[in-house]
Symmetry: D2
Subunit: 261 residues, 4 copies
């Protein structure tokens, strides 16, 4: 079996339990402290990914290689991030895949950007608009950490004033006034290109759907997704007590040609 | 603006309304009949994708370029297919992306296979196991239609008897007895590789989770996803009356090294 | 054990399966025909409630005494009825019980009226407004069948023009424009009286909540309720595939005194 | 308009906001302290229910007359209580109403008992079994506070050993092992009597459904109910972020006669 060793400066997900995981950078000579004891990074270096390691208090952690979902959930946040359940649907509805050219607005701290960049590898591109410069700095950090920064062009620009790119495959909107971007999106998209908008309130959805109808988009649909965890144990199986009741609505549309005059 | 023309033998999604779309192959000289009149394929050839065309009865259709989701929903079915909401989560949880090597079982008629192949482009591979030969034939047809057959190796084999591949990134299970595959999956996965299992019943989930715990998998979690459509129209906005109440549970896990003896 | 015998002209619920039940009136000399054979009513008369009876084709039915929920679900309908899950919450939120005086609008065909009358027995009263006379006729029939007509005063009047009663305990609104009734409801309610409104669309809810705030109501809250059936069988346990995705939103409020000028 | 005055020793619900309400006993000479200032009870006595009163810090409270739901939510708890959404469905499914005779087990601290007693007024009776004596003391206190103690017979007995009553209309089970009570319930119920069982885990449901089938119950069904709050405000309307994901499953059945041998 081919194994992969943990190297200096790798990001590692230290797994303690379903509720407790830590994303750490394995810095030589340093020590990671938890309430369950400490772990010396030098002890991790050279170990195989997936290894079980003991803390100074004898508690077992598993040293996992981070997945896309970990980079999203553990991203440095200054804003509400898009959750994996919504990210998954946004990606699926958009139709993107390896090689796609995507415009995103706004970047926020880059959680959704990370997912988009992951799926357009190796030759696609994500153009991501954000007006708040401090968010872009955090997004850059998160994208670097996930090894995806080369696939993204971060743009400190107001997307409601226009989109620079043309013939893009999809436009992903996660900002307060998506309806103001819809006409620009129409211009920027290739024919049959898709638009996906994520909004927490019904009022945003209604305005966006109206703008999409006016701009010759078709196949417009809005969904919401509820994800519930199950506690699975023979004799005690049940859904979990608390769940996220709402994150946002996802609206999808495709660009059609304008009707001939 | 770069446009893309409809060519002979393309698959086109003819969009009439949210409820009525048709996936057609544009065969020279042939005609497509609907209850809203007919469309001659020769009239489509050379038109731009996204064009609005009129049927013989003057009803407007939009000629759309199919997306991944369309290939899934319009796949030739002989079994229950995995719905896009579940496919989206399975893909996200698995952590796969361009270049991933994936084992899937069972293939069914290839709906989920289509999605997996799409996301591992251009250099990844999907090894898909299915014991019912007639399903594999349909799956092959569906994958060809979506232009993804080269990324998939269809295997007419019983996955509960073993997995040929090693060091794969993820294993996706959508079959009646996933717990029987778990030990083989452990052997076939690279360290930190992921397993995602989709099952309609609680009983399947409980057995699979128990098998995962026995086989040194960690970060085991089970979720279900409810997706609800919104009817969005100013003054009439409301969730839709009918929804799919249940498709299946999605169980996720990661391979950890076995504890030292 | 005290038993209760089926008498001539009783309403009986013939139970075949979870999916097939029939509400019948046991008329002397008559026969009830189903796709599973016929049952002579004379054979039912004198039998104990809960008895198992065989049809002419030897298929077993159980002769059940109808419950409130059966009268609701089997009411003669000309409109969409309020479903038991919503009726249950409306009753609970309203705070009504034996002896309560209730105003309802609109009556429709009396499904919700039936429940309200049931719970205010034996000394309460339901005043139910409806502008469409043909609906009142059906409602009357349904209430008679359930033995609850004496508790209800059916009023062929437009509730948006005013409410005749005063000092009522609760007002239940299930009509297209509940916000137009809110000021009348404030006048008709006793202090701390409750108002419960049921509406399918978000737009109705927003307008109603605004009217409630303007009319010195407090403790205003809106909920929706999703009920899902489980298929319970060892080894095959799972939620059912189809469910009702939406019926309506339930808004609740309590009358407070107006602030002193 | 008839008004009702607050009297000494009444229970009053002081309403500050959707999130903050206080159930208080208006004791002469005493003072109620909150983080928004204090309220002297002597200032409440003689005021009309529904009045707005100012705290010492000038913050407005509304003095509401408690409803059934308030007595449930504000009951003194030592155990997990049954939530109003579930209570509402249990009551509706059971078919109880004024005059019904009900057996309940276990009492817990009397939240569900309070609701059952409320709906069987004025001539019905609730026989409530509980093995833990300290719970019964709290239940007694809660039922007295709600003015419903005369309708309830609290029994410090193990219901799995048998039920004393016969010919009861319904049996409500909210205990760890409902399946052990099913045979006793069959004996205690009148023909066509109902049984409703509330359980958090799937495993409890499966065992209970099996016991019901063995004991000649019919029309067995299991549901779960998800209730979600809406935040309703023009321009900001959306479901609330957090919700209760699971409380328990509700199983319903009716007693049929045993098949003849």
């Amino acid at each position: 079996m081919v194994t992969q060793k943990i190297r200096k400066d790798d990001y590692v997900l230290l797994y303690l339990s379903q509720r407790k995981t830590y994303m750490v950078k394995v810095e030589k000579g340093k020590t990671f402290h938890t309430h369950k004891g400490f772990i010396k990074f030098d002890d991790l270096i050279g170990k195989e990914y997936g290894s079980r390691v003991l803390s100074s208090l004898g508690v077992e952690f598993v040293a996992l290689k981070p997945l896309l979902r970990d980079y999203i959930m553990k991203s440095v946040r200054k804003t509400q991030i898009t959750y994996p359940k919504d990210t998954a649907l946004i990606v699926m509805f958009s139709g993107i895949g390896p090689g796609s050219r995507v415009v995103e607005a706004g970047t926020g701290t880059g959680a959704l950007t990370t997912a988009l960049a992951h799926y357009v590898k190796p030759h696609g591109k994500v153009y991501s608009y954000e007006i708040r410069e401090e968010f872009l700095k955090t997004a850059k950090k998160n994208l670097k950490r996930a090894g995806l920064i080369d696939l993204v062009e971060l743009k400190n620009k107001d997307v409601t004033a226009g989109i620079d790119e043309i013939d893009v495959d999809t436009i992903i909107l996660d900002l307060a006034t998506p309806w103001l971007v819809v006409p620009h999106a129409y211009t920027a998209l290739r024919p049959c290109g898709t638009l996906v908008s994520f909004s927490p309130t019904i009022d945003q959805v209604v305005k966006t759907v109206e703008a999409l109808k006016e701009s010759s988009f078709v196949d417009i649909k809005t969904v919401e997704c509820l994800m519930r965890r199950m506690q699975t144990e023979r004799g005690k199986t049940r859904p979990q007590t608390l769940m996220t009741g709402h994150t946002g609505y996802i609206t999808f549309a495709r660009k059609a040609m304008k009707p001939e005059a």
